[in-house]
C-alpha cells in the first residue's frame, strides 16, 4: 500500500509537470502581450517595456518556464498582472470560497443522491423510482448555466427565498478568517447570524451546482444496487433469514457503492468545471470568478496557478477515492 501511494504521488508530480507545461505553452503562444494588458491601454511603450522586464517576460520562453517552476517549488506563485500582488494572496482570498461551494454541493449530492438511488432501486418502478428518474434525467440533461439563471429568476426574483450573489448579507462583517469558509468560521466564532446569512447565501449556488452530480450519483447508485440485489449472496443472505434492512445495509450497499465512489471522484472534476459558470452568474468570489477574469486579461501567473490548483485537487481526490475502495472492498489491495 505504501509503495502504491508513493508511486501515485510520484505520478502526481508528473501530471503537474505535464499540466504546467501545457498551460504555460498555450498561454504564451497566444498572440497577445500581457505586459501591455497590465500596463493599461494608454501606457507608453517605455512603461510597457519596464513592466515586461520587471515580470521577466522579456526572457526566452524555456527560461521563463524554468523560473516559474523554480518559484513554484519555493511556494511562490508569481505576481498577478491584474490584481498587482502575489498570486498566492489572491488564491488565499478566493480559494476558500470555491472550496466552501464545492464541498457544500458535494455534500448535498451525496446526502440526497445516494438515498435517492438506493430507494429507487429497492422500490423499483414505484412512484418514488419514477420521480427520482425524472429528477436524474433533468439533472444530467439541463445545462448548469441555464439552471442557474432559472433558479435565480424563480427563487430570488419571484419567490424571494434565496439571495443572489455574494457570500454574506450586505453590511454584515464576515467572521474572522480561520479556514476561509464562512460557514465554518462563523461556527468557530459562535457568530450565529453570520452562520445563518452565509448558509442562506450558499444555498442556491450549492443546490444548482449539486444538481448534476446528484443526478449522476443517484443514477449510478440505483443501477448498481439493482445489479447487486440480483446476486446469489443476496439471495443467500435473505434465505438465512436476515432482515431486509440488514441485507441492504450490510451486504448490498457496501458492494454497490464502489461504482458510486468512483463516480464521486469524477464528479469532483465536473463540480470544479461547474464552479466557473456558477461563480460568474452568482458573483461568488471564488477561483472560478478569479480565473475567468485572469483569462480575459491574459494574466499568466494567475491562469497557471489556478489550473495547477484544480489539477492537484482533482488528482488528490481521485487518489483518495482509490484508497476508499480498499475500505469498502477488502478484496482490493494495492501493491
Amino acid at each position: 500500500m505504501r509503495t502504491y501511494l508513493l508511486r501515485r504521488l510520484a505520478l502526481l508530480a508528473l501530471v503537474l509537470v505535464g499540466v504546467s507545461l501545457l498551460t504555460f505553452t498555450i498561454s504564451h503562444v497566444i498572440p497577445a502581450d500581457p505586459a501591455r494588458q497590465a500596463a493599461g491601454p494608454r501606457a507608453s511603450d517605455k512603461q510597457v517595456q519596464a513592466l515586461r522586464h520587471k515580470l521577466g517576460l522579456d526572457r526566452p520562453l524555456p527560461e521563463q518556464y524554468v523560473n516559474y517552476m523554480a518559484g513554484l517549488l519555493r511556494g511562490d506563485f508569481g505576481y498577478s498582472l491584474t490584481s498587482r500582488r502575489p498570486v498566492a494572496e489572491d488564491l488565499k482570498d478566493h480559494f476558500p470560497a470555491t472550496i466552501e461551494l464545492a464541498l457544500a454541493a458535494m455534500l448535498l449530492s451525496l446526502i440526497v443522491g445516494i438515498p435517492l438511488g438506493v430507494a429507487s432501486a429497492v422500490y423499483k418502478d414505484s412512484f418514488l423510482d419514477h420521480a427520482g428518474r425524472v429528477v436524474c434525467i433533468a439533472g444530467v440533461a439541463l445545462p448548469i448555466f441555464w439552471l442557474a439563471l432559472i433558479f435565480q429568476l424563480v427563487f430570488y426574483r419571484w419567490l424571494n427565498i434565496f439571495p443572489s450573489g455574494m457570500r454574506i448579507a450586505t453590511g454584515m462583517m464576515p467572521p474572522p478568517a480561520v479556514t476561509g469558509l464562512y460557514t465554518v468560521d462563523s461556527v468557530l466564532a459562535r457568530n450565529w447570524p453570520a452562520l445563518a446569512s452565509s448558509l442562506w447565501h450558499l444555498a442556491m449556488p450549492a443546490i444548482v451546482l449539486a444538481f448534476a452530480s446528484l443526478a449522476w450519483i443517484a443514477r449510478v447508485t440505483r443501477t448498481s444496487v439493482l445489479e447487486t440485489l440480483g446476486h446469489d449472496y443476496v439471495r443467500t443472505a435473505r434465505s438465512k433469514g436476515l432482515t431486509e434492512r440488514s441485507v441492504v445495509y450490510r451486504h448490498v450497499l457496501r458492494n454497490a457503492l464502489i461504482p458510486t465512489v468512483t463516480l464521486i471522484g469524477l464528479q469532483v472534476g465536473a463540480l470544479l468545471a461547474g464552479v466557473f459558470l456558477i461563480e460568474i452568474i452568482y458573483s461568488w468570489p471564488g477561483i472560478g470568478f478569479y480565473t475567468v477574469n485572469a483569462v480575459m486579461a491574459l494574466d499568466f501567473n494567475a491562469i497557471m496557478s489556478t489550473t495547477l490548483l484544480v489539477a492537484v485537487v482533482y488528482t488528490l481526490v481521485n487518489l483518495v477515492v482509490d484508497v476508499i475502495y480498499v475500505a469498502l472492498d477488502p478484496r482490493i489491495t494495492y501493491t
Binding site: D33, D45, V122, M173, I207, E244, I281
Partner: protein
C-alpha cells in the same frame, strides 16, 4: 417470503433529509434580513450599526468589474473612479453635467504666468488628510514627484511637469517644460493627481516601491470618504469620514458599498428587488427593462466618449483618402443611433465629442449618401468597389458586432465585402499595436481623461502618437496637421489657438482616418429613494458625488 422492510422507511428518510436541508437553507429567509439580526454576544460586531436614522443605510452600487489597484498614481481604469473620486482630492476638479467648469478642490486660488510655464496654487486652509495631518504644499510636491517617478498609469498627462516647489506651507508652484495649455484641465483628472498623504506613504514604502504595494489596497487621501475594507471581487466598502475637513450636509450615506457584478442580468434583478441602489454598465436591454420597473429610474446623460470605426490608413485601399471619404458616406449614422442604440446616442458632427471645451466643427458633416460614395470610389479608381475589407470587433461588445452587420449591408451595395471577425481583447491589443498587424477596419471607443476635447485630438491624430505608445490607431500622418497641433498645444493666445485647432479639424475631418460613428449616452440606474445624484460629464458615469448622495 419475508416481508420487506417497511416500504415507507426510505421515502420518509429521504424526505426528512431533504426537508431538513431545505429548512436549514431557508431558515434565515423567514426572518426579515440577516443583517438586522439582534445583536449577539459575539466578540466583534457582526453587522453595521443597526438602522437609527437616515445616515445609517449603506448605499450599494453595482458595476461590472472592480479596479485592479486603488493607488491614484497607478490606477488608470474607469472602475477606479467611484473610489478615487471621493477618497482622494485634487487641487482642482471639474463639475457640470455638460460643458464642465474647473472649480477649486484643495486649492483655493491659482495663477498662471503669462508665458504659460508656471502655475502657482494657494491651498485651502484647514484641509486635512484622514489621519488629521494637514494637506500642505509638501504633500502636493510629494504626490507629483511620486507620480512622475512611478511612471505608471496616467503619467503621460503630466509629463510636461519640470519641477514642483513648495514655496511656503500653503503655496505650491509647478514649472513646466513646455507651456502645455491643457495642464490645468489635466489636473482635474481622477487618474494621477489625487493628493496622497506623504507620511503614510513613506511609512509603508517597501523595497523602494514608493508605497505602491500598500497604497494598492489602502487609502492615504483627504476626501469625504475613507476606505473601509476591500474584499477582492466582493466589495469595496467606503466609510464616511466624520471629521472631513470640508464638512457635511444634513443627509448623507455613512457607508458606500461598491460591488463588482459580472452579469448584467444579475445587476438588473438586484436593482428590481431593491438589494442594490445604483447600477452602471448594464446592457441596453437590461437598462430598458429597469426604466420600466416601478421604483427604479434610469436617467440618461450625454456622455463624453465616442464610438469610432478605425481605419488603418497604411493598408490598401484605405491609404487613399477618397476611399476613406467614401466609407464615411456609406455609413448609416441615423440607423446606428436609432436602430442599434435605440436612440441612446447622438451622431457626431466633428472629429471629437461635443459638450466640452476644445470642440471645433468642420465646415461640413458626413451623412449617408451612397451615390456620393460611389462617385468617390470611382474617382479613387475603384468603380463598383470590388474589394474586401476586414472588420474586427472585440469579443463581448455585441453593439459593435451589430454595427458591423449594419454597415456590411450598405457596403454590399457599393460592391465592397465586409469580412466581420471577432477578436478577444488581449489579442486585439497586440494586433492594433502595429500597422502591419492592425486590421483594415476595427471598432473602438475613446473617453477623455479630463474634459478637454483637444486631449483626444493630440492623442489620436498626431503622428508621434502611433500605437503601441499612443492612440493614433489609424497610423495617420499628415505633416501639416502635426505642425498645427504642435503649435496649438502650447499657444497661449486663445484666438490663435482656436484658429489652429479649427484648421487641423478641417483637414483631419476631410482626410477621414476613421468613420466617426456616434457619441453614446451614459445611462445609470437608480432606485427612486436615492437622492442627490449629479452626473459629472468630465468623469462620466463611473464617478459618483457620494458625499451628496443619500437614501430616503
Amino acid at each position: 417470503m419475508k416481508a420487506r422492510m417497511n416500504p415507507h422507511w426510505y421515502s420518509i428518510l429521504a424526505l426528512v433529509v431533504l426537508a431538513g436541508l431545505l429548512l436549514t437553507a431557508c431558515a434565515p429567509a423567514a426572518a426579515p434580513a440577516p443583517a438586522a439580526a439582534p445583536a449577539t454576544t459575539a466578540p466583534q460586531p457582526t453587522t453595521a450599526p443597526a438602522a437609527s436614522g437616515e445616515r445609517q443605510r449603506p448605499l450599494v452600487v453595482l458595476m461590472p468589474t472592480e479596479p485592479n489597484t486603488l493607488d491614484p498614481a497607478v490606477n488608470y481604469d474607469y472602475n477606479g473612479a467611484p473610489f478615487l473620486g471621493v477618497v482622494y482630492e485634487n487641487l482642482v476638479r471639474a463639475v457640470g453635467e455638460k460643458d464642465p467648469k474647473i472649480v477649486p478642490g484643495l486649492a483655493e486660488t491659482w495663477e498662471k504666468s503669462a508665458d504659460g510655464l508656471t502655475y502657482t496654487f494657494k491651498l485651502k486652509e484647514g484641509a486635512k488628510f484622514h489621519d488629521g495631518s494637514p494637506v500642505n504644499a509638501e504633500a502636493v510636491k510629494f504626490t507629483f514627484e511620486r507620480l512622475l517617478k512611478l511612471n505608471m498609469g496616467a503619467v503621460a498627462n503630466f509629463s510636461s511637469i519640470d519641477k514642483v516647489e513648495a514655496v511656503d506651507d500653503r503655496t505650491v508652484r509647478f514649472t513646466l517644460k513646455v507651456p502645455f495649455t491643457q495642464f490645468l484641465p489635466a489636473l482635474t483628472s481622477l487618474w494621477g493627481p489625487g493628493i496622497v498623504n506623504p507620511a503614510l506613504v513613506k511609512a509603508h514604502e517597501k523595497d523602494g516601491d514608493l508605497g505602491q504595494a500598500w497604497l494598492a489596497e489602502n487609502d492615504a487621501g483627504s476626501g469625504p470618504y475613507k476606505l473601509g475594507k476591500w474584499d477582492r471581487n466582493q466589495q469595496i466598502t467606503m466609510e464616511r469620514d466624520p471629521n472631513y475637513w470640508g464638512g457635511w450636509g444634513d443627509k448623507t450615506a455613512d457607508t458606500i458599498i461598491v460591488r463588482p457584478i459580472g452579469e448584467s442580468t444579475t445587476m438588473r434583478l438586484m436593482m428590481e428587488k431593491g438589494d442594490a441602489d445604483v447600477a452602471i454598465g448594464l446592457t441596453a436591454e437590461d437598462a430598458d427593462a429597469l426604466a420600466k420597473t416601478p421604483g427604479v429610474k434610469v436617467p440618461e446623460y450625454m456622455g463624453g466618449g465616442i464610438v469610432e470605426m478605425r481605419l488603418n490608413t497604411t493598408k490598401k485601399p484605405l491609404d487613399n483618402p477618397k476611399v476613406r471619404q467614401a466609407l464615411n458616406y456609406s455609413f448609416d449614422y441615423e440607423q446606428a443611433v436609432q436602430g442599434v442604440m435605440s436612440g441612446h446616442a447622438r451622431p457626431m458632427d466633428s472629429i471629437m465629442a461635443s459638450g466640452m471645451a476644445g470642440h471645433y466643427k468642420p465646415s461640413f458633416t458626413y451623412k449617408k449618401d451612397l451615390d456620393k460614395a460611389k462617385q468617390l470610389l470611382t474617382e479613387a479608381g475603384y468603380p463598383g468597389g470590388g474589394f474586401t475589407l476586414d472588420y474586427v470587433w472585440i469579443s463581448g461588445l455585441e453593439r459593435d458586432r451589430r454595427l458591423g452587420e449594419m454597415w456590411q449591408a450598405d457596403l454590399k451595395k457599393l460592391g465592397i465585402d465586409l469580412n466581420i471577425r471577432e477578436m478577444p481583447i488581449a489579442t486585439w491589443w497586440d494586433a492594433q499595436a502595429h500597422p502591419e498587424t492592425a486590421p483594415q477596419t476595427f471598432m473602438g471607443a475613446w473617453g477623455n481623461d479630463y474634459a478637454d476635447a483637444t486631449q483626444q485630438v493630440w492623442a489620436m491624430y498626431y503622428s508621434g502618437n502611433w500605437p503601441p505608445a499612443g492612440s493614433n490607431y489609424y497610423f495617420y500622418k499628415n505633416e501639416e496637421v502635426d505642425k498645427l497641433l504642435e503649435q496649438a498645444r502650447v499657444e497661449q493666445d486663445q484666438a490663435k489657438k482656436d484658429q489652429l485647432y479649427q484648421e487641423a479639424t478641417e483637414i483631419i475631418y476631410t482626410e477621414a482616418p476613421e468613420v466617426w460613428v456616434m457619441q453614446p449616452n451614459d445611462r445609470i440606474a437608480l432606485r427612486d429613494n436615492v437622492k442627490g445624484y449629479e452626473y459629472n460629464f468630465s468623469y462620466s458615469y463611473n464617478y459618483f458625488p457620494f458625499e451628496k448622495m443619500y437614501k430616503e
